[in-house]
Amino acid sequence: MSEGLLGSELFRLILGLVIVIAFSQLNALFLVWLERKVSGHIQLRPGPMEVGPHGLLQTIADGVKLIGKELILPLKADKKLFFLAPVLVFTPVLVGFLVLPFSPGLIIHDMNVGVLLVFAFSTITVLAILTGGWASNNKYALLGAVRSVAQNVAYEIPLLLAVLSVVLMVHSLSFSHIVESQKTVWFIFLQPLAGLIYLIAATAETNRAPFDIPEAESELVAGFHTEYSGMGFGLFFLAEYTNMFLVCAVATSLFFGGWNGLFGFSFGIPGVFWFLLKTYLLIFVIMWVRWTFPRVRFDQLMNFSWKVLIPLSIVNLLITAVVVKII
């Protein structure tokens, strides 16, 4: 690393953050469009078609509309917390982007505890949801917030246990190390159960259907963001999609070989494209799941985590530990 302003770590970080914010916003806009298209075609309708070619600019139009709308503050709501929550929901997601390994040279800050950082910060999201739900002074919002906390506590455990199996195999918490060790064989083939558990828990972590009980629109109207209007709601909405990208990108690097091609063959495609391709495929699967299944009930969701996911991931971890020790 050369000396001077351009090479300094601080400059890299600031530049990276700007790029991350720009990328995550654009990406979220694209994902909203993609979700509507996927849901549309699954349901035999075309989805947005009016603004731009095949409705590509629809989300931008929606965003402009949301910005123009009034921010309604409910009576007796906690004003400071109410406006803090949408901001709070976005920050942890942005931090996660800093350590994502898009390609060998394209990591904003390759930390040796990158995995830990992502998961540590992703727990803040639930704090934002709790804050928003509590500050709204609305029973539906509070119910949604309470559900969200319970759900996140339950699903953080299998999520981390699944990730731990991978970490045990690599002996490193750095994303670039984990990805490099998947050069020939992706970890999904060595750790299929952990991969599956990760994906299920990640769906629950991001409050996506069928685990979208914090916002369950047919039960709780809109759950924790019932009272949010305008861009307050818009930020929650964008954060959901950014969060989805983050968990899928993490899944790609942990289980699907990150920037590596299939079984060591990259077919001349640059690593960053491999990475994005796999991430978007995973996102598509999560969308596909959302538009297929009904919502699970709150207690069933907890049951599933405590009785199925956690025991299985513990067993998986134990087996991994034993096998790693023997080899």
């Binding site: 849901s39 699954i42 349901q43 035999l44 309708r45 029973k139 539906y140 119910l143 559900r147 259907a209 069928p210 979208d212 009980i213 369950a216 629109e217 047919s218 039960e219 709780l220 109207v221 538009w291 297929t292 299944f293 009904p294 919502r295 699970v296 009930r297 709150f298 207690d299 069933q300």
Partner: protein, 373 residues
């Protein structure tokens, strides 16, 4: 009152006002829930937001002028309500209906029943959180609406039946469209089964949820698919056949547990049975008149009263008409199934969760405007 005070004194319990503006209260129903965390302690449905005075309207106009009102009580099975009203008046005035008209009415009614059940199927899945089956069901329902449109000229409030027949004869186009629809549905059942009926999440959401005991059902006067789900094979089409229902071979699907899954299952199989009825009716369809010309324009039935029950998509529905010999009924009363079906919630909901409340309310399939009427 003591109980209420006790609940209020207990500060663990708080009340939640579900509706009248809520995404899944199916119209303008308001349910006052007392909750302990997510669990329901007490449930109190509040009705009457959609009261339009249909019964009083019926008493202030000629018999035939009440026809458009009938399909606006239960707008999802408007043709069945229409059908039931003409049955009552025909019985009161002693009007003979041509055979062909009877068959046409049965075919149209059963199509309407399927469309009502399909809509319930879609919205029920929407309540539970599955959005896609809703659109598939509406896609199928669209075919029924198009088919009925070719003979009734309307898509929701049909006003198709007349005293002594129907307004318009069915043609080969209608028959072809109906046959095409039946054929289409054959392949759709498997899809619905794979997507919903067998889905483990759906089964967990509905199995043993909102169990209605047979005795409880009898106490509240629960009828229709909700009663059949408890194991009672009661269907007006079978127990007191009207029109030509005694000429068809169809089963009455029943459940065993009386839970939401059984109610789902019963309705699902009922759609298949309706398809069977339509198929047989199309085969037996006789030639002849579709409307008897002998009915006077201003109908004044002889003094007397009549009670006619029929099976609407939601259960036993009945018209009770009293004639004093004038062109308007002296008393017009409608027995709607949703009223009993809804009030059973008082006993079923306590002890369940909020998410279950929505699943149970949806499974009971109430149409609030027919309760409020």
């Amino acid at each position: 009152m003591d109980e209420l005070e006790k609940i209020e004194a207990d500060d663990r319990v708080y009340s939640l006002n579900l509706g009248p503006q809520h995404p899944s209260t199916h119209g303008v129903l308001r349910i006052l829930l007392d909750l302990d965390g997510e669990y329901i302690v007490k449930c109190d449905p509040v009705i009457g937001y959609g009261h339009r005075g249909h019964e009083k309207m019926g008493e202030n106009r000629q018999y035939k002028q009440f026809l458009p009102n009938t399909s606006r009580m239960d707008y999802l099975s408007g043709l069945l309500y229409n059908h039931g009203f003409v049955l009552a008046v025909e019985k009161l005035a002693g009007i003979k209906v041509p055979e062909r008209a009877k068959y046409i009415r049965v075919i149209a009614s059963e199509l309407n029943r399927i469309s009502s059940h399909l809509l319930w199927f879609g919205t029920y899945l929407l309540d539970i959180g599955g959005i896609t089956p809703f659109l598939y069901a509406f896609d199928d329902r669209e075919h029924i609406l198009d088919t009925l449109d070719t003979i009734t000229g309307s898509r929701l409030t049909y006003s198709y039946c007349r005293f002594g027949g129907v307004t318009r004869d069915i043609d080969s186009k209608f028959i072809d469209m109906t046959r095409a629809f039946l054929k289409r549905m054959e392949s759709r059942w498997a899809d619905y089964e794979a997507l919903v009926s067998k889905n483990v999440i759906f089964i967990h959401r509905t199995r043993d949820v909102g169990v209605i005991d047979v005795n409880l059902a009898r106490q509240y006067g629960v009828t229709g698919p909700n009663l059949r789900a408890c194991g009672v094979a009661f269907d007006v089409r079978r127990s007191e056949p009207y029109e030509v229902y005694d000429r068809f071979d169809f089963e009455i699907p029943t459940g065993t547990r009386g839970d939401a899954l059984d109610r789902y299952d019963v309705r699902f199989r009922e759609m298949q049975q309706s398809c069977r009825i339509i198929e047989q009716a199309l085969e037996q369809l006789p030639e002849g008149e579709f409307l008897t010309p002998k009915v006077p324009q201003k109908l004044s039935p002889p003094k007397g009263e009549v009670y006619t029950a029929f099976e609407s998509a939601r259960g036993l529905t009945a018209y009770y008409l009293v004639s004093d010999g004038s062109p308007a009924p002296y008393r017009c009363h409608i027995r709607v199934p949703s009223f009993g079906n809804l009030n059973v919630l008082n006993d079923v909901l306590p002890g369940t969760m909020v998410a279950d409340a929505i699943a149970i309310l949806g499974s009971i399939d109430v149409v609030i405007p027919e309760i409020d009427r």
